[in-house]
Amino acid sequence: MTPAAAGSVSGASVVARGWGWRHAGRRRWAVDGLDLRIEPGERVLLLGASGAGKSTLLHALAGVLGGEEEGEQRGHLLVNGAEPTAERGQAGLLLQDPDSQVILARVGDDVAFGCENLGVPRDEIWRRVTDALRMVGLNLPLGHPTSALSGGQKQRLALAGVLAMRPGLLLLDEPTANLDPEGVLEVRESVARVLENSEATFIVIEHRVAVWQSLVNRVIVLDAAGGVLADGHPDDVLTSQGERLAAAGVWVPGRGSGLVAAGRRTSSGTTPLLRTPGLAIARTKAEIIARDLELDVLAGTALALTGPNGAGKSTLALTLAGLLKPAGGAVLASPEFADGADPEPIRWRSRQLLSRIGTVFQDPEHQFVAATVRAELAVGPRALKRPEAAVTARVDEVLQRLRLDHLAEANPFTLSGGEKRRLSVGTVLATQPQLLVLDEPTFGQDLRTWREIVVLLDELLREGTAVVAVSHDADFVAAVFDREFRLAGRTGAAAPLITSGVVPR
């Protein structure tokens, strides 16, 4: 890394004076009355409850909020004394979703994309591309296909693309929310190296504070009601605002999850619902991911599926859920669980699955089929041809239990991340299945939603529902699960896990 590569850029200043932004078609201002000054070279962690307008602010600073048709602005927001849209490339923005940030097919071309747009001469572009890739630690040939990258690598690639533009203001919008623990570390290390070699001003949004705490020298907390709630040195702000932040869903280090053990569940865990003699799993017929997987799913107990990326955790979960066909061996339901249906769940009719196995997908948007939250929850009970009065009663019950009642008439796609997650769990609960299968239910969730999921699953387990979940989240596994099945490459092994139930403090 030559000092000239990153150090030649001086940091940009940020000034907000009574700034506000309202998205087109909304009544509420996403951000309002914001007064703020960030000096060149400061490293800022931006916190706030969901809906406080953190992302809106970052997008505005990057100049990508859009024009007048996208929304309305008041007050002033200036980067280095100018409107952010006036000087493109001054601010570089890294977004949350790794998949939607890869633009071109080859690693080198993708990093070069931003430089091309800014009119950087060709020789200079390739010098910057090499430097940026080295800085984020992505040691890949320039011709390497971007489709073959892991989530963490994709984020580092996007970061390299941003760095190659030599921005004076580096903006990160929850850059690790969609990554597994390994990916989180990769990205954090890359950013740390970048900050060591750069004078750029740095602003990151992240509700897992521990990841960035040591890299920032200032924490700003936005108030959902508008303006700034707290601003200062990280230690001071996290101490004085800790409780409030935790209540707003921020993971404040040293505060734990806010849940305490509620005594061990008296698990009824001896009646097997499913067993898997000689199971082999595959996404498509040709590629078997893992074979000889032997496991039991027991009534009223929680089984965690863990293991490294690509080991087949999601595939195993979907196979157990009767959605993917086993590539070898079988998934067999006990006669009581099958209750008159075929012994193999994959042969059950779609409707027969409803009261037996409920599956919550990793991306909630994949499983939404209706125009309102209420209609979404009614889909399952209606498919089971339950009487209309019973459907309404059940839907109301689930709406309340998941705190979605105030959103009953909203379109599922317009909900926040946490609300979408709760709704996707609700759609499954509506038909009261005996087994719940969840794929990464805590992925990208703030502390509040995390806590709600933990409490809800604990309640369901106590009521006798069985739970199988894929998870990378060690805290979640420790809080909820009785047993862990770890997929490691080609085979798996079931290990008992000592855990106890939890209730909110």
């Binding site: 997008h59 990057a62 100049g63 990508v64 493109r88 490339g89 570089g92 923005l93 977004l95 998949d99 939607s100 890869v102 633009i103 071109l104 097919a105 080859r106 080198g108 071309d109 070069a112 994309f113 931003g114 430089c115 091309e116 747009n117 800014l118 009119g119 060709r122 572009i125 390739w126 296909p145 489709s147 996007a158 693309g161 941003v162 533009m165 859920a321 959605l323 993917l324 009719r349 779609s350 409707r351 699955l353 409803l354 196995i357 409920g358 599956t359 997908f361 991306d363 948007e365 994949h366 499983q367 939404f368 089929v369 889909v379 399952g380 498919a383 089971l384 796609f413 759609t427 499954v428």
Partner: protein, 260 residues
């Protein structure tokens, strides 16, 4: 094979600017669809065979990639043979089927024509990298960069859509609405995919904008798209094959202009 990661090779054909490939394939097709006679198609096809093997594609990959053409051509020919416009001696008649001297000649001409247009097009296009094509279209043909790069980036989303489609299918089964009514189910699933794709598209657009896409400065190109001797030569070859086919056909009196 991913849509945006085509096979790579070091033979000449892989290095030629995709714009030249596009131009020569269009040129050849444009001339050959002006006539329906077997002579011109046969001449073109003969030349192409020589050229294809000189291009350096292995026999196996040539056969695999062009398989659809090999199936389509005789099928179209057979249809023409059985149901084509009857003329001259009748060889066989059964119901609507009427195999005549005229329909036989037309069938051969059709089969050869589809092969003559299809084979070189496939060979030229399987060796095209979409990124290189976009570079060429923007730098050589001077199409607007916004349009070309938007299309190129959108192409990458196609791979994600395949995954989305599969997930939607499984999710519908899990939601209890996958029994019966395949038509309606497909329609609602297609609509769901549309909604997802619009969301993906707008996210991608934001990511591109965040990297300065559409900035009011003259864009530069990291990869130079060159148009030199070998590109001109390829178009020249295409033109020569087309002219030779037309020349032989006219000389033998079998030229049969479609518009007369």
């Amino acid at each position: 094979m991913s849509l945006i990661a085509p096979p790579r090779g070091d033979r000449a054909i892989f290095r030629i600017n995709p714009v030249a490939k596009l131009a020569s394939a269009l040129l050849l097709a444009g001339v050959l669809i002006l006539t329906i006679d077997w002579v011109s198609a046969a001449v073109a096809l003969a030349c192409e065979f020589v050229l294809v093997f000189w291009a350096g594609l292995s026999l196996k990959s040539f056969v695999l990639r062009t398989l659809p053409v090999w199936i389509a051509a005789p099928t179209a020919g057979l249809t023409t043979l059985l149901y084509g416009q009857p003329a001259g001696a009748v060889y066989w008649a059964f119901g609507l089927v009427n195999v005549t001297e005229g329909s036989l000649e037309l069938a051969i001409a059709t089969t050869l024509r589809i092969l003559a247009i299809g084979l070189p097009s496939v060979v030229l296009f399987v060796t095209v990298d979409p990124t290189d094509l976009a570079d060429g279209l923007a730098q050589v043909v001077k199409l607007p960069a916004r349009f070309v790069l938007g299309g190129l980036a959108g192409l990458r989303l196609v791979g994600l859509f395949l995954g989305d489609w599969r997930a939607l299918e499984l999710a519908r089964r899990a939601r209890g609405i996958a029994d019966g009514g395949a038509g309606r189910r497909l329609l609602s699933q297609a609509f769901a995919l549309l909604v997802l794709s619009i969301r993906r598209g707008s996210k991608l657009a934001t990511a591109m904008e965040a990297r300065g896409f559409g900035a009011p400065v003259q864009r530069t190109w990291a990869r130079e798209s060159t148009f030199r001797g070998r590109e001109v030569a390829l178009i020249g070859i295409g033109l020569a094959v087309a002219l030779l086919a037309v020349g032989v056909s006219v000389a033998l009196g079998s030229w049969n202009f479609v518009l007369t």
